[in-house]
């Protein structure tokens, strides 16, 4: 152990270091909220620029490209970087407090989610200064988004940087989804069944389910788009359905995204209306069922965004029906909220006002949305301000509800009450400003969207909207002033400053203690109790007498259990390395793209040796890694020399090339650093875990990750099927001018199946504590993977160099290289992890029933990669 024992304790909140190393969910929640508010200000400023431009027809301040950038960046930042993170700031803080968890299941992963999110904003910010940022609209329609179509544009580098920033954001969201799912399923207080968790937590659960699958589809789209930029594939640039393919991928993600943004707000509306009406939510069960129905159905409505593309009438009909179907559960939820107010004891506090405002706004957004469900009206509304007005009523309703949530929980987070008068003033200004801004857009709905030339007869209404925007924006200054000032006031609050609260976060002090609860929370007796920690940590269920309401017993000795760690530098550093990599890739030229990653391999292997020696004591294996890294580096240098010429290659490489190398190398080292860090996160001893009681948290996390990876690969395969079908299924290979590589495909199928077999055997022997055989089978798996990669390289080199079938030759080449390439990248990642496992096994880790679980988790990943190949083999090599 090189790190001192107390390096994982949290420094005080007044230090900067605290906020860089913290893995505490409450700290990270606060960081999310602050960062998303920063994004709100940034994207809101862009909105003001839009409204300023619209002051007169023809524009006031921006040229065409400038306006397109502002419109696109406003949309992207608000939808992705503001709305969801704003809600997830609250979710980070309150979901564990509401369900009785000490923290999220994977605290370092949570910190990593945050830092990747933060640095993705930085990357987006950088893109503004690289000539121009992305300017193709937030829906990024193809083929305007690919470089070959818009080759002369100044948006090349900045536009791609924004795409990479979005890719980083998707990564952050996926990690967060895995984390929240595992937490909510595995760490609920005893007696809290899934249906019992508070509404906000339920809405977050359903949100992360949608995120897990929807964002994986977006990731597939972004991977393809990045490939168009980096290696010149021709999916979207192709005349063969490329543009329609993008709309399918985008909206398959995009429609669930609407509910992803809105669900947390619905949960909050439920909480706030319930509390401030002093009445339990009417029809709660039906409210929850309606939410779940919408979450599932959201994946089969996407084509209503595509009614004017080439899709046929039968499918339009199907999607019209599903679309109308999905509006009905929302009716039920709205009525449930309304009837909860009836016979309530309603207090018009600021949170309630915002909830009421959000409800009214949402009703208008919902009704105007039904218009769009009628295909015939949709035809005319397509691309007009009707759409803009409708979705701003829907989306901003979410924002307004979450702002209500901020006021609702502000006393809990800070321990101070905000100023009620200023809060109400904020609401009035915001509500008036909002409706002045967006209602006129219904009136002038014939204005084409994203266009600053309009019928001069509409000028007055556009000016009203611009004034409304100014008022709406200014209202937020009241909120900032109010909240900052109140934090330093003497208006201290008790555990629950509001009447008629119900859920657990109101039963702890304000602000909550670092360990969240005064004892282990439990609902086993029918209502909330905090049980003596020492008793519950020992595994025995404490009886009711141990319960306290103030925490008198909380200090009881817990020496038996190792304390949980709360601090780590690695998430911050890994996040930073992704920023560098992102900046680098945005401007790197195609021929150089792969080299930073290749050059990182020897560094990875060498550093694995060094870190391993530090952590486990020097062993032969560490020396072997160090030694092996040098010939590997030499080999790569020789190859680089052959590719570019050593000196000329390095000389001609742009700065972006070097920034990428720094990023990938730092990324490799920090990932290893996190892998070797001992970081204790105790699994809850007393928790409700249905329906995953027998599954450990890490295994559940791995399975949820695999669930999202299924969509990633499935969307890539689906894109292939779509493209091939569109092209003509049987003509596909004839048009390709190369032969299917069936023989190498078969060989690789054998190899990969064998490697699955050997990794299973490694697990069997690890459980039997047979180190020699475990090591042997792990190494054999690694060898199998190496042979697979070697065979794959020969296949590629044959097709690419000898037959001249390059990435951009045709659609067949693009789909073949990218899909099998993504799979190969998964194999490579698996190989790097195996090197880590082999080193650890060599020094004695993973032996026995419990310890071998790490090998099992890796096996799950490896078998999944195998299964993907089982489909790629017929699809790309036989049919």
């Amino acid at each position: 152990m090189t790190e001192s024992a107390d390096s994982h304790h949290l420094p005080p909140k007044s230090t900067v270091k605290r906020w860089l190393v913290t893995t505490d969910h409450k700290d990270i929640g606060v960081l999310y909220i602050l960062t998303s508010i920063f994004t709100l200000v940034l994207a809101g400023t862009l909105a003001l620029l839009i409204r300023a431009q619209m002051w007169t027809s023809g524009g006031l301040i921006l040229n065409g490209l400038g306006y397109n950038q502002v419109v696109s960046a406003h949309g992207l930042l608000m939808v992705f970087w503001f709305l969801s993170p704003f809600a997830f700031g609250l979710a980070n803080y309150f979901v564990p407090l509401q369900i009785g968890a000490d923290d999220l299941a994977f605290p370092r992963l949570n910190a990593l989610s945050y830092w990747v999110y933060l640095f993705s904003i930085v990357l987006f910010g950088v893109s503004f200064f690289q000539g121009a940022t992305f300017s193709g609209g937030w829906t990024m329609y193809a083929p305007l988004n690919v470089p070959t179509v818009d080759a002369s544009s100044v948006t090349q580098i900045g536009g791609f940087a924004a795409i990479l920033a979005l890719t980083m954001f998707v990564t952050s969201v996926t990690l967060g989804s895995v984390n929240f799912l595992t937490t909510i399923y595995r760490q609920r207080a005893k007696g809290l069944r899934m249906r019992d968790i508070p509404l906000f937590s339920i809405s977050i659960l359903l949100t992360v389910w949608m995120m897990l699958f929807a964002f994986a589809a977006l990731l597939a789209a972004l991977v393809i788009l990045s490939a168009e930029h980096l290696i010149g594939t021709v999916y979207f640039a192709s005349d063969s359905g490329g543009s329609v393919l993008w709309t399918h991928l985008w909206w398959f993600f995009g429609h669930p995204e609407v509910y992803i943004v809105f669900f947390p707000a619905l949960g909050l509306l439920g909480e706030i209306v319930q509390t401030f009406s002093g009445r339990r939510l009417v029809g709660r069960k039906w409210f929850v069922i309606a939410l779940a129905l919408v979450a599932i159905q959201s994946f089969i409505v996407w084509m209503h965004h595509m009614f004017l593309t080439t899709i046929n009438l039968p499918i339009k009909t199907v999607f019209m029906v599903t679309t109308i179907g999905i509006s009905l559960p929302f009716d039920l939820m709205v009525f449930a909220l309304i009837y909860t107010m009836v016979k309530g004891r309603i207090r018009w506090k600021t949170p309630f006002l915002f909830a009421l405002g959000a409800l009214v706004i949402f009703i208008i957004g919902g009704i105007t949305g039904v218009f769009l469900g009628a295909i015939l009206l949709d035809y005319s509304f397509r691309g007009t301000y009707w759409v803009t007005a409708h979705f701003h009523y829907a989306m901003a309703s979410a924002a307004v509800a979450i702002i209500g949530g901020i006021y609702y929980w502000f006393p809990k987070i800070t321990g101070k009450m905000y100023n009620e008068f200023l809060g109400k003033a904020h609401f009035v200004a915001a509500f008036v400003g909002f409706n002045m801004l967006y209602f006129p857009m219904f009136v002038v709905w014939e204005t084409p969207r994203r266009v600053f030339v309009y019928d001069t007869g509409l000028t007055l209404w556009h000016r009203v909207a611009t004034l409304g925007a100014a008022i709406f924006a200014a209202s937020f200054l009241l909120m900032f002033y109010n909240l900052v000032k109140s934090m330093y006031s003497d208006r201290d609050v008790t555990d629950s400053p509001w009447a008629y609260t119900g859920s657990m976060e109101w039963a702890v002090s304000s602000p909550p203690p670092e360990e969240n609860f005064p004892g282990t929370p439990s609902y086993a007796s029918g209502s909330l109790e905090f049980l003596d920690r020492s008793a519950t940590d020992g595994g025995a269920v404490a009886d009711g007498d141990a319960a306290t309401d103030g925490g008198a017993v909380a200090d009881a000795t817990t020496a038996a259990a190792q304390p949980a760690d709360h601090a780590s530098w690695w998430p911050f550093l890994i996040g930073f390395s992704t920023l560098l990599t992102g900046i680098g890739l945005s401007g790197i030229s195609g021929p150089y793209f792969v080299w930073p990653f290749l050059f990182t391999l020897p560094v990875f292997i060498a550093y694995l040796g060094i870190k391993g020696a530090q952590h486990d004591g020097f062993a032969l294996i560490h020396g072997a890694y160090l030694t092996a890294s040098f010939p590997l580096l030499a080999l790569l240098l020789v190859l680089f020399d052959a590719d570019h010429g050593f000196m000329t290659g390095l000389g001609e490489a742009s700065n972006y090339f070097y920034i990428t190398i720094v990023g990938t190398v730092l990324g490799a080292m920090t990932l290893i650093g996190m892998g070797y860090e001992s970081f204790n996160v105790p699994e809850p001893k007393l928790a409700e875990q249905w329906p995953f009681g027998e599954v450990e948290s890490t295994k559940l996390g791995m399975w949820t990750f695999i669930g999202s990876d299924i969509i990633l690969f499935g969307a890539l395969i689906g894109s292939y099927v779509f493209a091939r079908f569109n092209f003509g299924w049987h003509e596909w290979w004839e048009a390709a001018e190369v032969h299917k590589a069936t023989w190498p495909g078969l060989a690789n199928t054998y190899i990969l199946l064998a490697s699955s077999f050997t990794i299973v055997l490694a697990l069997v022997y690890a459980k039997r504590q047979d180190k020699r055989k475990t090591l042997g089978f792990l190494s054999l798996t690694f060898v199998g993977a190496s042979v697979f990669m070697l065979n794959k390289s020969i296949e590629w080199i044959e097709l690419f160099w000898h037959e001249g079938w390059t990435f951009n030759t045709d659609l067949m080449a693009s789909t073949y290289y990218l899909t099998t390439g993504m799979h190969a990248a998964h194999v490579l990642v698996g190989m790097l992890i195996m090197l880590f496992l082999i080193a650890r096994t060599y020094t004695g880790a993973y032996m026995g029933e419990e310890e071998s679980q790490t090998i099992e988790y890796f096996g799950l990943y490896w078998h999944f990669v195998d299964i993907v190949w089982l489909f790629l083999f017929p699809v790309f090599y036989i049919l």
């Binding site: 329609v244 398959f252 695999i706 969509i711 499935g714 099927v721 199946l753 064998a754 036989i878 049919l879």
Partner: protein, 89 residues
């Protein structure tokens, strides 16, 4: 955990199925009867995937809810692929 014998049997079946898939193409059977043979090849892949998931990833020993997570992903893929492809047919 199943026994090593079970794992070996499954490995044998997986290799055999893969070979059969290959033989369909190599013998020209696929070309003569494209539709039906394509269906058979894909069904074999599904069976192989189920064998790997069922025993190697021991999904049969896990709570059924783990299977549902994977199935949810598969259903999403089917919705996207079938929906998108049908829409242009």
């Amino acid at each position: 955990m199943a026994s090593i014998k079970t794992y070996t049997t499954i490995f044998g079946v997986l290799m055999a199925f893969s070979t059969v898939q290959f033989v369909f193409e190599f013998s020209g059977l696929l070309e003569d009867n494209y539709g039906p043979i394509m269906a058979v090849i894909l069904v074999l892949s599904v069976l192989k995937a189920m064998a790997v998931a069922g025993w190697y990833m021991h999904i049969i020993e896990e709570p059924r809810s783990i299977t549902y997570i994977a199935l949810a992903g598969v259903l999403g893929v089917i919705a996207l692929t079938v929906g998108a492809t049908y829409s242009i047919s």
